[in-house]
């Protein structure tokens, strides 16, 4: 559990480690020579290449890279120098034009390309090489699978503030609700997320998904999206696995500060109805002010006790008397970050690489003109009629902060041990006020909610990399991570809007009867995970095209505890005048004197709690075998044994325990064919799986408090088996350029879908069912091209674009209890197309850069319709962002970001009914970045 003391401990630890590191910094001060440091990386994967020889051309100065690819050359004569990098299996590369000042350190990273065919040396200039390292990361030439990556450098050129915003730049990726990643139209169910290679626990009560908006972009080095399965990856992904790598320490000591501010028209500086706050909410650290009153907690389900009126009065008075949002000025968007890193302190004779980084952002945003409605059935088949339409706005006060500590040391040339610690926290304090009317009552009402949500993640990881000679490599890692989603004391209440006489001024009366009139909800979800993995790699055979054999294992233990308690307060016998009082006055004690007989309070079973334990044990063996020099076969098999247990407690039912055991063998085979030195063809086929989410296996019924639908899990769900086929042709016309076409097809056996059922009396029911099968197929195009070929005017421009076109078909069983309109349709969440395109300008001097990014996602189903209603679709939306970066002087960068320039509405429709509509507003941001 992420409690405050543990947070403080972590912060203290962070600073205690940071200080001595910074203090013991050393400097190169030798006259006439300088130092070149950097990293040799695989152009395909971005991974460091160990044991590469680095030589200053024309001198005897040279060295070898360490296990992480890092190298350091001391006593290099000052002046303009050239370095040459060699490594068996890679094309030799010369980098010219390095200007080294005496007594200074120069950082130069070099990327190497696998030399399957071409063995002649490549020569590039230092400046080009600098530009192409990030491009190379993006070149996606991973030897085994189809990979896309976004790098810190790309993120820094975009206005993206968190990992979720950044990852949507990847081809085939769509991001839902600004948080959840869909790859190739496959929902979060089929996408897994990891942090530095270890699975991240999920803070979502309904799903196991990781909302990527929890990770500040400032802490991210790369976000890699792997779209094909190899046995060394966890088997429960079918769409993609997203790995976030936190920043690595820089080769030379550096400190960076960044500060920015944003203005959101309509929100910043405006008078807005905002949620009230208590305690340390502004820093996402709420205190006990929002705790569920102990006396209420002790009552549990209120069973086997008979409360008298006095008891009710007392219980009502224990709830925090805060219901109505206050008017406050919207604060500007502020963000700042700081990092310090280097590779200079020496402890026990070992150089320690370190990076400490912290970031914070906060602000107020407004979703204005928010509309939500439900669609009812018309009197002709398929016709939709709007009901329960509510309009209003949501003011959100958010804060996101986090920090990381990354320490690493070489034990010897071939062994590196590193520690990666990450901690972050976010809070959203929302106030939503909306007016409308429920069809069942036909009375105009206003609903007011205040919802505070706090999320936190921590992760601590120890990894080791050991290269023994050129043949053996052993990697291991141990990770402990945890996540919490804490939603204490959310409030919602309903007032009727009365006009008496008709047309007179509107008066609000508390809608005091029933279970939805005034509700407090307390939810808390904790998930913790321990993961241990080890991998052995054997490289044998002919240099240049070796055979690589890997085997390894993994053990992961995840436990989750999700609790939710909800209470309704209702009242009788209050007069209209009394009901017209603000709720804070109704609950100030005047109606709960000992003789009062107004209030009733009781638990609502929208609550329901569950606990889950999941033990995964896996082992794999795989080989990368060169069949010809130009043809590699990558094949292997993974075995996974999963033991999942869910204990559910419904407020008014008996506990239900579900135990699932699944053992799976997951084979995969890939072929990589080097067509020419610049062209590759990859083919792959694999078997993967998707297991039901914990919540889906818990048969408790839960319900949104006001006007919501009932959601019920099913303990009898099966897992889904997926067969994946991929083909991809890649062409690399020049450094940092790519053209690729990929085809993919997936077949799902028993996919799980969220569908509608019906309840007597008309209540809508949402539940989960295994559909019979589904198919998903499509094509992906990716292009990145310098436009210099069009003329010198276009020299500084780079165009990039990725387009995914896809289609899917899901078939539900006829006998299913789903009352779905379409037994055969697109899968929920799948868009017919995703388009990302952008243009980057980089002035020759490197002083000014500008990026325009455009994103559009085709209309997709967000919920399958219950018969006879059509499916609920989210409309396409155009998003255009602009970023400018201007170097003012050395190390100082001015940033300007224009976000969401088109301000296209977010719109969800069902037939003719607008189910949801809002605009999130444009944002103008300005910032300064200073790096030393």
């Amino acid at each position: 559990m992420l409690t405050r003391p543990s947070l403080i401990r972590r912060l203290v630890f962070l600073f205690l480690v940071a200080l001595p590191c910074a203090l013991s910094a050393q400097r190169e001060a030798q006259q006439g020579t300088g130092r070149i440091v950097g990293r040799i990386i695989d152009a395909a994967s971005g991974a460091g290449i160990a044991d590469a020889g680095v030589q200053v051309v024309g001198t005897t100065t040279g060295g070898r890279s360490g296990v992480d690819g890092r190298f350091s050359l001391g006593n290099v004569p000052a002046g303009t120098v050239t370095i040459q990098v060699r490594r068996i299996g890679f094309a030799t590369k010369q980098v010219t034009g390095l200007v080294l000042e005496a007594g200074k350190s120069l950082e130069q990273n070099v990327s190497l390309t696998a030399a399957t065919v071409q063995l002649e040396a490549q020569v590039t200039t230092a400046s080009v090489e600098r530009g192409s390292v990030s491009g190379a990361l993006d070149a996606q030439r991973n030897a085994a699978g189809v990979v896309s990556a976004v790098t810190a450098e790309q993120i820094s050129k975009s206005p993206d503030g968190d990992a979720a915003q950044a990852v949507k730049r990847v081809s085939g990726v769509t991001v839902q609700d600004g948080k959840y990643v869909f790859v190739r139209g496959l929902g979060e169910r089929y996408t897994t997320s990891s942090l530095n290679g270890a699975r991240v626990p999920s803070p979502e009560p309904e799903k196991r998904v990781v909302p990527l908006d929890m990770f500040p972009a400032g802490l991210v080095q790369t976000i890699t999206t792997t779209k094909t399965f190899t046995p060394d990856q966890q088997g429960d992904f079918s769409g993609a696995s997203v790995d976030i790598r936190t920043k690595e320490f820089p080769a030379t000591r550096s400190t960076a500060f960044q500060f920015g501010s944003g203005y959101s028209p309509g929100a910043t500086g405006s008078r807005l109805l905002s949620a009230t706050s208590v305690g340390g909410e502004s820093f996402a650290m709420v205190n006990h002010n929002r705790d569920l009153p102990a006396v209420v907690r002790n009552l549990g389900n209120f069973q086997n006790i008979n409360l008298n009126q006095g008891d009710m009065n007392y219980l009502v008075s224990t709830f925090r008397n805060s219901w109505t949002p206050k008017v406050a000025t919207g604060s500007p968007l502020l963000n700042g970050s700081m990092s310090v890193g280097g590779n200079d302190p020496v402890l026990f004779g070992h150089r320690i690489g370190y990076l400490f980084s912290g970031t914070i952002s906060s602000g107020t945003d407004l979703k204005d003109g928010q509309v939500r409605a439900l669609a009812d059935r018309g009197t002709t088949k398929g016709e939709t009629v709007e009901i329960d339409r509510f309009t209003g706005s949501t003011t959100s006060q958010s804060v996101l902060w986090g920090g990381l500590a990354n320490l690493s040391t070489l034990i010897n040339e071939g062994s590196r041990i590193s520690f990666n610690g990450l901690f972050n926290r976010s809070a959203d304090n929302d106030a939503r006020v909306e007016a409308g009317s429920f069809a069942a009552d036909a009375i105009p009402v206003q609903i007011t909610r205040m919802e505070y949500t706090e999320r936190g993640v921590y992760s601590g990881q120890l990894t080791g990399e050991h290269q023994i000679g050129s043949m053996h490599r052993f990697d291991w890692s141990a990770t402990a991570s945890g996540v919490r989603r804490y939603e204490p004391d959310q409030s919602a209440f309903v007032q009727s809007i009365d006009q008496d006489p008709a047309g007179g001024p509107a008066v609000l009366h508390w809608y005091a009867g029933g279970s939805g009139s005034a509700v407090r909800t307390y939810s808390d979800l904790n998930e913790n995970s321990h993961e241990y993995s080890a991998k052995y790699t054997l490289t044998v055979g002919r240099a240049g095209s070796p055979t690589v054999i890997k085997f390894g294992g993994l053990s992961r233990h995840t436990s989750r505890d999700a609790q939710s308690f909800s209470y309704a307060i209702s009242a009788r016998n209050l007069t209209p005048e009394q009901l017209a009082l603000p709720l804070e006055e109704i609950f100030d004690g005047r109606f709960s004197t000992p003789s009062s007989s107004y209030f009733n309070v009781g638990p609502l079973s929208q609550g329901g709690s569950y606990a889950a334990r999941d033990r995964l044990t896996a082992g794999f063996v795989m080989a990368d075998v060169p069949i010809f020099s130009a043809l590699h076969a990558i094949g292997g098999v993974r075995y996974e044994s999963d033991n999942l247990e869910v204990d559910a407690f419904s407020t008014l039912g008996s506990p239900v325990n579900t135990v699932k055991k699944w053992n799976d063998v997951l084979p995969s085979l890939g072929l990589n064919l080097q067509l020419t030195s610049r062209q590759q063809l990859r083919l792959s086929g694999s078997r993967t799986l998707a297991r039901p989410e914990y919540r889906e296996l818990s048969p408790i019924i839960s319900r949104d408090v006001v006007g919501g639908e009932n959601v019920q899990g099913d303990e009898n769900l099966s897992r889904t088996r997926v067969t994946n086929m991929d083909a991809r042709w890649e062409f690399y016309p020049g450094a940092g350029e790519i053209l690729s076409v990929a085809l993919f097809a997936k077949k799902f056996d028993l996919p799980i879908e969220r569908v509608y059922g019906s309840g007597s009396g008309g209540t809508a029911f949402v539940f989960y069912t295994n559909a019979e099968s589904a198919d998903n197929y499509g094509v992906e195009l990716e292009l990145r091209k310098h436009l210099g070929a069009l003329g010198s005017l276009f020299e500084p421009l780079t165009l990039f674009s990725n387009v995914t076109l896809m289609e899917s078909q899901i078939h539900l069983f006829d006998s299913t209890k789903a009352s779905a309109t379409n037994l055969s349709r697109r899968m929920v969440g799948q868009a017919p197309y995703v388009l990302n395109t952008g243009l980057t300008y980089a002035s020759r001097s490197g002083g000014l850069s500008a990026t325009a990014l455009f994103n559009r996602i085709g209309e997709r189903i967000v919920a399958a319709g219950g018969t006879p209603l059509p499916d609920v679709v989210e409309k396409s939306r155009n998003v255009l962002d602009l970023s400018l970066r201007q170097a003012i002087r050395s190390g100082v960068l001015l940033r300007m970001d224009l976000k969401n320039l088109l301000d296209s509405p977010y719109e969800v429709r069902q037939g003719t009914v607008e189910r949801e509509f809002y605009r999130s507003g444009r944002i103008v941001g300005l910032g300064l970045q200073w790096q030393h």
Partner: protein
């Protein structure tokens, strides 16, 4: 037995033997005289039977059994039993007795043509209902009889499975276990219940708690699920079920479903003289068990003389299907007295609903509704209504002779509702000869164009229209016969349809109607018979025509009066078998 007690008994036996011996001394004649039997003992076997044992003498022919009721009744012969040749013990079981009643017995011996004097008397009292205890905690999967002599306790969600018949003897008491929240009896599709009580021995389902401590929601209720058509496609989850998941585990609240079956004549059994008291279970808003929940029951089902007392939600709720049901009474209903939807086709006559208060339900059993109404009828609502409010079959019940009395105060209802009759979402139906009083919002809410279309999109529906309201008398309904006209609210012509809004009080209409706010002592506080000279004693639609006549057939009779009770002394059909209690 104490020592003294034994001594007294022994002495009594000696004296008795002595008395018999004296009697035989007085006999004369040459043949051995017939002597009365010795050792007559009577034990109550059940609520209706008594076992007699005595010692016969060798040579006797038979024994006449004579019985007298109470201390002062006169003896009469009830039967005869042959004598064993060698003498010795004789047993006889007397049946068809009254419950919990004292009887005296004596025996007359027949020897040849001679009769003895009467033996010594034995007295016995038959057992009361429910003298034995039996808990039912798992599903009933084979036919079973519940006996009147046993008090059953439902512990959990008891489902009577397909193919099984549950027979319940008159007078049987079945308690819903307070300790097992939501405990309920569910007659599943294909199963039957035969619960036929008598006015003297109604079958009672009630809370396991003592009178005075009972509350709405003490236990779940009675649910019947059938296989008759409704107007929603696909399967429908019975509301309130599924809190224990989807896996069928006996006694657990697993998800129960019905679907638009095709057996309109489906038979789920017979209910007669049945009371359901303090029931209800509301795991979620709009997900409630009622006193009586009828899901898609076919016309083979028959129900009459049913009482609902103080439920957490509705008294009687009908989802689709259709069968004949009459003589229903609903006291202190937290939500709707009569709730019909999903294509309910039944014929209903003689319905009483009355509220005097809104009771506080059992803590933690759920929340009562916000929209209390007398009748709440819907056409079709929700997933599976393929034509929306026009989904077929339309909800078209015939509701004749109803008396519905709200508690009159807005505090008795929730935040909305308070309509005497809520007709919406395309419902039809024939509503005739009713009395609606003391509803705080209005008499009738005729909502939605689709509902108005059932009346033919006119205020004067024709004799063939699917929605007709005729000869209904309203009093104390906030001065509004109809909810005022708006885009979504409609009215019928009150004159043409004989819908009368009285300016008089509700109390003046009936013989005895408790005032709002005072707690009625017991059932005798109510007399729904029209008061002398009451306008509801006349004014009924006394001849049916058109669609109403067709629907009524021979089951529903037209009456000259309005309301559920005929004027005069003989009309009190609720008397004797019903009860009233707030707790």
């Amino acid at each position: 037995m104490t020592l003294i007690g034994r001594a007294l008994a022994a002495t009594a036996a000696v004296l008795l033997v002595g008395a018999v011996a004296c009697g035989s001394d007085n006999s004369t004649g040459t043949t051995t005289p017939a002597t009365p039997v010795l050792g007559l003992a009577a034990t109550a076997k059940s609520t209706t039977s008594v076992d007699l044992t005595f010692n016969g003498t060798a040579g006797d022919n038979s024994y006449d059994i004579e019985r007298a009721e109470g201390a002062a009744g006169t003896f009469a012969a009830v039967g005869s039993v042959p004598a064993p040749a060698a003498g010795g013990p004789v047993t006889y079981t007397d049946t068809a007795l009254k419950v919990n009643t004292a009887y005296r017995y004596h025996i007359i011996t027949n020897r040849g043509a001679l009769k003895s004097v009467a033996s010594g008397e034995a007295t016995v009292t038959t057992k009361d209902f429910g003298f034995a205890a039996n808990a039912i905690s798992t599903d009933i999967t084979a036919s079973r009889t519940l006996y009147a002599d046993t008090a059953y306790t439902l512990k959990g969600f008891i489902h009577v499975a397909n193919g099984a018949v549950l027979t319940i003897q008159p007078g049987t008491r079945i308690y819903g276990d307070y300790a097992t929240l939501g405990s309920a009896l569910m007659i599943m599709k294909g199963a039957k219940i035969q619960a036929v009580g008598t006015p003297a021995a109604p079958i009672v389902f009630t809370s396991s708690r003592a009178a005075g401590q009972r509350q709405p929601g003490d236990w779940g209720g009675l649910l019947l699920v059938g296989n008759a058509p409704n107007n929603r496609s696909g399967v429908v989850n019975v509301e309130g079920t599924g809190t224990d998941g989807n896996t069928v585990v006996g006694g657990k609240n697993y998800t129960v479903q019905y679907n638009g079956g095709n057996v309109a004549t489906d038979n789920s059994g017979t209910l007669q003289f049945v009371r359901v008291e303090f029931a209800g279970f509301a795991p979620l808003q709009d997900q409630e068990f009622n006193s009586f929940t009828f899901c898609a029951l076919g016309s083979g089902t028959r129900a009459s003389f049913l009482e609902s007392l103080s439920p957490l939600d509705d008294a009687f709720e009908f989802f689709g299907g259709g069968f004949d049901i009459d003589h229903l009474i609903a006291f202190e209903t937290a939500d709707d007295m009569f709730d019909m939807s999903e294509g309910w086709q039944g014929r209903m006559q003689y319905l009483i609903g009355i509220n005097t208060v809104q009771l506080t339900p059992r803590t933690g059993a759920g929340f009562y509704s916000v929209d209390l109404e007398g009748i709440e009828n819907d056409g079709c609502n929700g997933t599976g209504c393929d034509l929306g409010f026009n989904s077929t079959p339309f909800t078209i019940p015939l509701v004749a002779n109803f008396t519905m009395i709200g508690c009159g105060l807005s505090s008795c209802v929730g935040a909305s509702g308070g309509h005497g009759m809520m007709l919406r979402r395309g419902t039809g139906g024939y509503y005739v000869n009713g009395v609606v009083a003391r509803f705080p919002t209005d008499g009738i809410s005729l909502r939605d164009q689709a509902t108005y279309d059932r009346a033919g999109d006119t205020g004067t529906p024709s004799a063939t229209a699917d929605l007709q309201l005729k000869n209904i008398f309203f009093a104390e309904v906030n001065g509004k016969l109809f909810q005022p006209l708006s885009a979504n609210q409609f009215e019928l012509d009150s004159t043409a349809n004989n819908l009368k809004l009285s300016t008089g009080t509700a109390a003046s209409l009936f013989t005895t109607l408790p005032a709002v706010g005072t707690a009625p002592a017991d059932i005798t506080a109510f007399d729904f018979t029209p008061a002398a000279g009451s306008p509801i004693a006349t004014g009924g639609l006394n001849a049916f025509t058109g669609a109403i006549a067709t629907k009524a057939g021979t089951f529903v009779t037209a009456t000259a009066y309005q309301g559920a009770v005929a004027p005069g002394a003989g009309g009190k059909w609720w008397a004797g078998w019903t009860t009233y209690a707030r707790n």
